[in-house]
């Protein structure tokens, strides 16, 4: 029987994944694996994955067949920075949640982006703390009922991609999980045309168990809803404030190819050592 293209990048012995049935984390995995396949990456020997704590942090470890570091909640980026500085030849990818990367680890994210640190960071924005049963996160929509906001969320969500676009990061994009082909192509770009500096991809993918099911929808119904709700940034900008709240702005927010931190740092070290 024909085999799924993703299986060669997975540790088959630990499948199926521990994710809930329908969890969109698995769709991001397909897009990532298809990007690897189309780039001709046969195995992941030159890659290291780093994650923190949360459902999305489980994507690399234990499932992806590559070296990985499953670190503390929020601390994936500083550990990944250390890995990259210790061996700049490695491709270092961080995969984590909105809670992990934008809440407890928010300052690490901001400053790695400011440094234009040579990392690819993929943030699954599932709108909640999925692993601990769906509490509100900094990305939870206004009004959403969660165990920590029983009368609805009084706060408004932070726009993580726009914030990171305001730093020195080279590449910033946001895609909905329903935009499989652009998401896959964006991951490819962030590993090829834009292979240095800080690259950030936000993946809007509501938690199937604590957001989608709570809305009384099936994961398939929600995917079809997202196909309408997610629009390109240019379209979103032309909308009224009320319309904007009902849609998700997606696309490439920024794409530059400035030297990353590693290159700049090496230059300074060479100067300090008197090499020309």
């Amino acid at each position: 029987m024909a085999e799924h293209f993703g299986l060669k990048y997975l540790r088959r012995e630990v499948l199926p994944t521990a994710f809930c049935p329908g969890c969109y984390n698995g769709i991001l995995m397909n897009a990532l694996f298809q990007a690897f396949m189309e780039l001709g990456i046969e195995d992941l020997k030159r890659f290291v994955f780093v994650s923190g704590i949360g459902c999305s942090s489980w994507i690399p470890s234990p499932f992806i067949r590559a070296d990985s570091l499953h670190t503390l909640h929020g601390r994936a980026i500083p550990v990944a920075t250390g890995v990259k500085l210790a061996n700049p030849e490695l491709n270092v990818i961080v995969i984590g949640g909105d809670g992990d990367l934008a809440s407890i680890g928010g300052n690490h994210l901001l400053h790695a982006a400011r440094r234009n640190m040579d990392l690819l960071v993929i943030m699954i924005n599932n709108q909640v703390y999925g692993m601990t049963r769906g509490q509100a996160a900094p990305t939870t929509p206004h009004g959403m009922i969660t165990p920590t906001t029983p009368y609805g969320n009084p706060e408004r969500p932070m726009d993580v991609a726009s914030i990171i676009a305001g730093t020195n990061a080279n590449y910033v994009a946001r895609w909905c999980i329903s935009q499989y082909i652009p998401l896959k192509n964006s991951i490819k770009d962030a590993l090829s045309r834009y292979s240095r500096g800080f690259r950030f991809i936000e993946v809007y993918a509501p938690c199937v168990t604590y957001v989608v099911r709570r809305e009384g929808k099936t994961p398939g119904e929600k995917l079809k809803e997202l196909m309408k709700k997610c629009v390109r940034i240019e379209t979103w900008r032309r909308m009224s404030p009320e319309e904007r709240e009902k849609h998700v702005a997606t696309g490439v927010f920024k794409a530059e190819d400035k030297p990353g931190f590693i290159e700049t740092y090496k230059k300074y070290i060479a100067q300090a050592l008197g090499e020309k």
């Binding site: 024909a2 199926p16 329908g22 398939g220 995917l223």
Partner: protein, 69 residues
Amino acid sequence: MAHYKVFINKKLCKGCGICIEICPRNALRFNGINPETGYRNPEQVGECIGCRQCMWYCPDQAVVVVGEQ
């Protein structure tokens, strides 16, 4: 005209129904419960146009679409 066949890996499928709901041709349906996993597994019941959306959007790498010329 090309013919396409859809294969479901019953060890990986968690019966979420995404493939069935996403298919533009209604080519897939649930068929009973898999006693080994306790989940419902889909099977192909109609003509497939090979768009591969079921394969992309299956979160458990359980769908393979094969084209036969």
